[in-house]
């Protein structure tokens, strides 16, 4: 067992840290969440800077313009990115973390050439059209149909939780191309241009107020068949491809941010005084912070342990479910702790007088979505108990 980064990793760390120290302050604070144009400029502008400096797509293969970093360089990248409080991936989330990786794994050469460089450069925003009103945890029950008509699929249906639909250029869309077979066997994965006629968008107001999400209504949308990724009706397998691409590192940056955030909260607590004592003098509060930090430490270690498994076996294990479950649950408790520490300041969703109260409470609200999205905690527990512990499946 060895947890030591190599000299090459440390050299990469020094270069990246010095670049981030210079560029992060220059990029400034993010615009208000309701200003979509400014948000696109901010998120994509940062992506362009990453690309020009050679830091875009750190885990993408170099043949597609990525850095092709080793697993340990990737960890260094996330550590430094979190430490520098560099901009959140934002609108690039679906393209960089989901759609792009799927195209790399399953797309045609033309699809790769068309989309990958633009995603990396920050020229192309993607959204996700997976969930439907009656297909949530049971995603394979989706009903949106795509019927072949000559060189086109004619798409009809309704999607929901379509992230960044308002500003997206393309949508990774799951459609039913064969209604005659059992539900997993009739799904296809297509790239839908968002400027086609028949697409209408209606934003969803979430508990955070403004939203990255929307409902999307599709009425006779004609998608050219060359936008199909992989084989027709093979979409369910393709949907699971990105899990493989992520090599188990999907939550690495978020986990490291927890460690940083708890350290920041300790500093906040040392500066909150009341009756001549600081909040940090409260042994109950310190122990809660220490306990949460211990769990964050163990998740960071578990991430490295799982990456070690990937390096040994070449495939990320099913253990990613354990990490997703543990991280998203801990994440909620950490930001709830932060919000409680803010006291009455936490009753404002706007930052007050230079404090991070608004950021903290807004992040806490957002943590509530992560135990639901991408396979809820309950779905993860089913996966762990059935596929790892070998307990019988329930009828589904």
């Amino acid at each position: 067992m060895d947890l030591r980064y190599s000299d090459a990793d440390e050299k990469f760390r020094r270069e990246l840290r010095s670049w981030l120290d210079q560029e992060v302050p220059k990029h400034g604070a993010p615009p208000p969440r309701s200003d979509w144009d400014a948000r696109r400029d901010y998120d994509m502008g940062w992506q362009k800077k990453l690309f020009e400096a050679g830091y875009a797509g750190v885990n993408w293969p170099s043949e597609y313009g990525g850095r092709g970093a080793t697993l340990t360089e990737e960890l260094v990248y996330y550590e430094e990115y979190a430490r520098a409080k560099a901009p959140y991936v934002g609108m690039n989330f679906v393209g960089l973390r989901h759609g792009g990786p799927t195209v790399i794994a399953e797309g045609t050469e033309l699809q790769k050439q068309t989309h990958l460089p633009k995603i990396l450069r920050g020229d192309e925003v993607w959204c996700q059209g997976f969930s439907e009103p009656s297909a949530g945890s049971d995603l394979a029950a989706l009903k949106t149909t795509a019927i072949r008509d000559g060189d086109h699929y004619v798409v009809n249906g309704q999607k929901t939780w379509t992230s960044f639909a308002q500003k997206a250029d393309f949508c990774e869309l799951l459609v039913r191309t064969n209604p005659e077979v059992p539900k997993h066997g009739g799904i296809s994965w297509v790239i839908m241009p968002m400027d086609l006629p028949g697409i209408s968008i209606s934003p969803i107001d979430t508990i955070r107020g403004e939203s990255d999400f929307a409902e999307m209504f599709l009425e006779d949308v004609r998608v050219p068949v060359e936008h199909l990724v992989g084989e027709e009706n093979d979409g369910w397998r393709i949907t699971n491809v990105t899990l493989r691409f992520e090599r188990g590192s999907a939550w690495a940056q978020d986990i490291y941010e927890l460690k940083e955030f708890l350290s920041d909260m300790a500093e906040v607590a040392r500066n909150i005084t009341s009756d001549g004592a600081t909040a940090w003098d409260d042994i109950g509060l310190r122990r809660e912070a220490g306990h949460l930090a211990a769990e964050a430490d163990s998740l960071w270690a578990l991430m490295k342990w799982q990456l070690g498994e990937v390096a040994r076996t070449g495939m990320p294990g099913i253990g990613g479910s354990a990490l997703k479950l543990a991280f998203t649950e801990l994440n909620q408790r950490v930001y709830e702790f932060g919000t409680r520490l803010m006291g009455r300041m936490g009753l404002s969703r706007t930052d007050l007088a230079g404090h991070r109260n608004g950021y903290t409470v807004d992040t806490f609200l957002n943590t509530l979505s992560l135990t639901i999205a991408a396979g809820s905690s309950q779905v993860q527990r089913n996966i762990i108990s059935e596929r790892i512990l070998g307990m019988p499946k329930e009828k589904r």
Partner: protein, 326 residues
């Protein structure tokens, strides 16, 4: 970085596991209860290298690192092996004769609360030496100087306790730095023992649930049971990663803060052991409440270790002190 067992470490794990499974089969546990600990058992453990693992070879040890010791102690935990093994391994470099198995040693940290005028000493009637960690350093008390009554009903049937009324002061053999070093090392070994217990209780619970039928099917098929088991599994995985990360950081302190890493491992592994033992009792149902089934041994040993080197709450406080230095 390759945070996985090496081939040698896998072989070490297999060796100690097959020893423990042969020496402490669960169907022999009732027999073991009659005499949980003896000098012969201690000598056998010493022969396996349990105490001398980290001592240099020229001092009669095996010359391995803390990561290797953690692997061994997780295996001891899986079978709730009796004896003051954590102290033996932490004190092998302090007390002569421990590594070879000639001297039976245990330890006592006076920071831990005990009723006024009385101290419960694990295996107190079997010791050659008791090492006492006091607020001003490390003291050596000869086993023959300990007097008291054996507790009639110790919580853990495999951990007899001597109730010592007048704990001798003993001879000072080290300062606070040594006391600190012993505490840190013993805490890590105890965390590894917790890890092994947390693993075993997941395995017992899942195996029992697969075999136990109610409503005409195995209870392992009910989501209510599956979700408890999944949470137990997650705690075990977190504990394993934390314990081995702490051991690696101890062996190579340049990669992080060993004090924080060890305290974090103690928090997470202790909680995994306690949670999983309780839930194991629950999944066994009525059988889990019987003496003849395994879960209660794990629950009870967890309480022994919880009260050996400071509680989980105390370890959380240590993490908080180091919260700015991961």
């Amino acid at each position: 970085m390759e945070f996985q067992f090496t081939e040698d470490q896998t072989a070490l794990q297999e060796g100690i596991r097959s020893f423990c499974e042969g020496r402490f089969p669960f169907d022999g546990i009732a027999e073991l209860e009659k005499a949980p600990f003896s000098k012969e058992l201690w000598a056998e453990l010493a022969e396996m290298g349990v105490f001398g693992l980290r001592l240099p070879e020229d001092q009669g040890g095996v010359g391995l690192g803390m990561a290797d010791a953690a692997i061994v102690f997780a295996e001891l935990g899986r079978r709730v092996v009796p004896g003051p093994t954590v102290w033996g391994a932490a004190l092998a470099s302090v007390i002569d004769g421990v590594a070879s198995g000639e001297v039976v040693v245990s330890g006592l940290d006076t920071r831990l609360a005990s009723p006024a005028g009385m101290t419960l000493v694990d295996y107190g009637d079997q010791l050659d030496v008791l090492v006492v960690l006091r607020s001003d350093g490390v003291y050596r008390v000869e086993g023959s100087a300990l007097s008291g009554e054996l507790v009639e009903e110790p919580l853990d049937p495999l951990t007899p306790m001597l109730a010592v009324t007048d704990l001798p002061q003993g001879e000072k053999i080290g300062d606070n730095d040594l006391a600190h070093q012993i505490r840190v090392e013993a805490t890590l070994l105890a965390s590894a023992f917790f890890l092994g217990m947390a693993e075993s209780t997941v395995e017992y619970a899942v195996a029992y649930a697969k075999g136990r039928e109610q409503f005409d099917r195995p209870i392992a098929g009910f989501q209510a049971i599956k979700h408890i088991a999944a949470d137990m599994y997650v705690k075990q995985e977190m504990a394993r990663a934390a314990v081995y990360a702490a051991a690696c950081t101890f062996d190579d302190p340049e990669i992080g803060n060993p004090i924080r890493a060890i305290a974090s491992a103690r928090v997470v592994a202790g909680e995994a052991a306690m949670h999983n033992a309780r839930k194991c009792v629950q999944i066994y149902g009525g059988m889990g409440f019987t003496w003849e089934m395994p879960p209660h041994y794990y629950l009870k040993r967890t309480f022994v270790l919880e009260n050996t080197l400071g509680t989980g709450e105390f370890a959380s406080e240590i993490v908080a002190r180091h919260i700015d230095a991961a």
